[in-house]
């Protein structure tokens, strides 16, 4: 064997574990999911192993279901609303904590708490807080005279999605804050000094120094935030179960509904594929923008 061939072999040998891992844990399930969406894959399949191919029947059935359209729109609203809220508040907090002040460390760690609470537990507590009848939030708004009639946070089809978004924002703030805060620490302070000498005001400093320097971190935060938000299931299930009247159904609750309630795994796989497609689009956009920045 020539030296060159050997070194090439060695290269592949080093790559092999990663390839095997990716193929086993990403490639196989992904392809399987696509295949499954063309099969009549039901509870019986688990026992008999038979899943006849049915062409596009699952896809047609899912897209003809009005709830699917509703769920797709809700997923967009939920994701955009959550991201805007999480990112906006997270950025403001990160900027705030950048100025060191007494107790800022303590406060910063306290703000991480929502991240540490198990999602289902947080959801259960929020359901109690938002209850229209005896919920703490309505009681508080009543006592302070802000409202005269209880707000049906989770029990009105018009309001429920907003409430679910608000809860998800609360959950997502710590993540956004921590990553953005880390990004802010990386910006060299001499840039700010130079800006100060040039007489840049606060807004100008933010726009010309902080934001451009933070851009790569922002892209990562938004991409990870998107992927984490678009597939949120537990919060919605615990808060509303997709109700009232399907007003908080999302694509992920549809996957759950089709696969694990109706035991129609073929249709569940269709919705799952749509979700994966959406994630893929965003991942590609991210990679492209990143490549531009590097070159």
């Amino acid at each position: 064997m020539t030296v060159r061939a050997r070194s090439r072999l060695a290269k592949w040998a080093f790559l092999l574990p990663a390839i095997v891992y990716l193929a086993a844990f990403f490639g196989y399930p992904l392809i399987n999911n696509v295949v499954m969406s063309f099969q009549h894959y039901t509870a019986a399949t688990f026992f008999t192993g038979e899943a006849p191919f049915v062409g596009w029947a699952n896809w047609r059935a899912v897209f003809a279901d009005p709830v699917f359209g509703r769920a797709a729109v809700n997923t967009v609203l939920f994701t955009v609303g959550s991201l805007v809220g999480q990112f906006g508040i997270g950025l403001l907090l990160a900027l705030y904590f950048r100025r060191n002040f007494p107790l800022s460390r303590l406060l910063r760690s306290l703000l991480l708490l929502p991240w540490l609470v198990p999602l289902v537990a947080a959801g259960m507590v929020w359901r109690q807080i938002l209850d229209q009848e005896g919920g703490v939030l309505n009681e508080f708004l009543h006592a302070t005279g802000l409202i005269s009639q209880n707000i049906p946070w989770l029990s009105s089809p018009q309001v429920a999605l907003l409430s679910v978004v608000l809860v998800n924002i609360w959950i997502g703030i710590p993540f956004n804050m921590v990553i953005l805060y880390g990004g802010l620490q990386e910006i060299p302070s001499d840039l700010y000094e130079a800006g100060a000498i040039d007489g840049a005001g606060r807004w100008r400093t933010f726009r010309s120094i902080t934001w451009p320097m933070l851009r790569p971190v922002v892209a990562v935060v938004l991409l990870l935030g998107f992927i984490a938000t678009v597939k949120v299931l537990d919060i919605i299930l615990v808060l509303t179960g997709g109700g009232p009247a399907n007003s908080t159904e999302s694509l992920s609750t549809q996957v759950f509904q089709n696969s694990f309630m109706n035991l129609d795994f073929g249709r569940g796989a269709v919705v799952g594929n749509v979700l994966m497609g959406a994630c893929l689009v965003f991942a590609v956009i991210y990679l492209r923008t990143n490549r531009k920045e590097v070159s």
Partner: protein, 406 residues
């Protein structure tokens, strides 16, 4: 000569391979032990079942391992086990899940194993049948009734309602700043649909025809109760456990709930309560609620294990075993003779015993269609009681949904 390190590496590899093989062997069932899987992780049912299973294990000369998973995990877990042929010897399913599971052909017909539904109330035996074949057997069941807060009703001079008209009037009168007249579960889950059947059926409605005038009438009642404020709009977000919490906290004068909630209602200090059958549309109309509870099924395995599992199921289904579990867990035995024997000992649950013979299986008519129909139903309920649609529009849409789905 082989370097020392390489030998060690080989030993490791061999050891881990052995480990893998050994764990494969360990998965083979223990010939002295039967496994029993259910979702009874909560007290008092968990202890009641474990005690009775131990007792029956002694009688049939096998150890019985009882393990519980959470309610929403039971079916997915059992399916995974089915695909790897490692099902428990006895699987206890929520009764509406039985048709879908029997449809997989993973279950043994109980008649083949010498278990019959003899001695069990016929309406209860129906919860274990699929396409005429007996796949499951329910030792105990539960039903729904109307709990009421005696103090609140006495104070207002209201008697527990018997008909829908009386229910409307009572709920209105019992609604004050401190409490609402009535609560029920209209949550987006099987629980919401389950509770609604107790109003749909007595009105002559049929789950196969959701847009019938009878169904619309039943939904109109729920809608009126909520829209008038006699029941809170929050019922859309209450599971049955939440309804019970509101009731024990004194925020509801009446509630629709099951016998299994009696344990906590009893333990609430200072709560003076009673139970009556769910009010019916017209005087004298028979109450009909949906039968709740679980059925024991026997997944296919080796013949001798199936026979042993059948012995265990038979033992769990004797009069004595039924009474032990039903008494401890506030349920109704499925054998009329067992129920008759236990009834005098549970005065506060008598209503459940008296209405159980009129209760019905959710899947008797629609088989595997229940998940679709239930979903259409709870969506319609929520649309109507939130005021987004009239009961008529909501139920027409529900029926269209069911028709197009299959």
């Amino acid at each position: 000569m082989i370097p020392q390190a390489r030998i060690r590496r080989r030993t490791w590899l061999a050891a881990s391979l052995c480990g893998l093989l050994a764990s494969g062997c360990a998965a083979a069932p223990d010939p002295t032990e039967l496994t029993f899987m259910d979702y009874h992780g909560d007290e008092p049912m968990r202890s009641a079942m474990t005690a009775q299973l131990d007792d029956c294990g002694d009688q049939i000369g096998m150890k019985v391992r009882h393990y519980s998973v959470s309610g929403d995990q039971l079916v997915p877990k059992a399916l995974r086990m089915a695909s790897s042929r490692s099902m428990p010897d006895v699987l206890m399913l929520d009764n509406p899940d039985l048709p879908q599971f029997a449809d997989t052909q993973a279950l043994r017909s109980l008649n083949d194993l010498g278990i019959s539904a003899e001695g069990i109330a016929p309406n209860i035996a129906a919860t274990g049948r699929y396409r005429g074949e007996l796949y499951g057997i329910a030792p105990t069941v539960n039903t729904l009734a109307l709990y009421y807060n005696r103090d609140i009703l006495d104070q207002a001079g209201v008697r527990p309602p018997k008909t829908w008209d009386e229910l409307r009037a009572a709920a209105r009168e019992l609604t004050t700043a401190q409490h609402r007249g009535i609560g029920f579960s209209a949550y987006a889950s099987f629980e919401g649909a389950y509770q609604f059947l107790a109003f749909l059926w007595p009105n002559g409605g049929d789950e196969r025809e959701l847009d019938s005038p009878q169904a619309i009438g039943a939904l109109q009642l729920w809608t009126d109760l909520v829209r008038s404020g006699s029941a809170p709009q929050a019922v859309m977000n209450w599971e049955q456990g939440d309804v019970k919490n509101q009731f024990t906290a004194g925020r509801l004068a009446m509630m629709v709930n099951g016998s299994w909630q009696a344990a906590e209602v009893r333990e609430t200090p200072g709560l003076n309560w009673g139970v009556v059958p769910i009010p019916v549309p017209r005087p004298g109309a028979p109450p009909a609620t949906a039968l709740g509870g679980e059925v024991m099924t026997i997944p296919k395995s080796e013949p001798w294990r199936e026979r042993k599992a059948a012995e265990l199921a038979r033992c769990m289904n004797t009069k004595k075993a039924q009474i032990a579990v039903a008494h401890a867990a506030n349920r109704v035995p499925s054998r009329p003779d067992a129920a008759a024997e236990l009834r005098p000992e549970v005065p506060d649950l008598r209503v459940f015993y008296d209405t159980a013979p009129a209760a019905r299986s959710r899947t008797e008519r629609i088989g595997t269609g229940w998940p679709d129909i239930a979903r259409a139903l709870w969506t319609a309920i929520q649309s109507a009681i939130s005021g987004n649609a009239t009961p008529e529009e909501a139920l027409e849409r529900a029926q269209q949904h069911v028709d197009s789905g299959s």
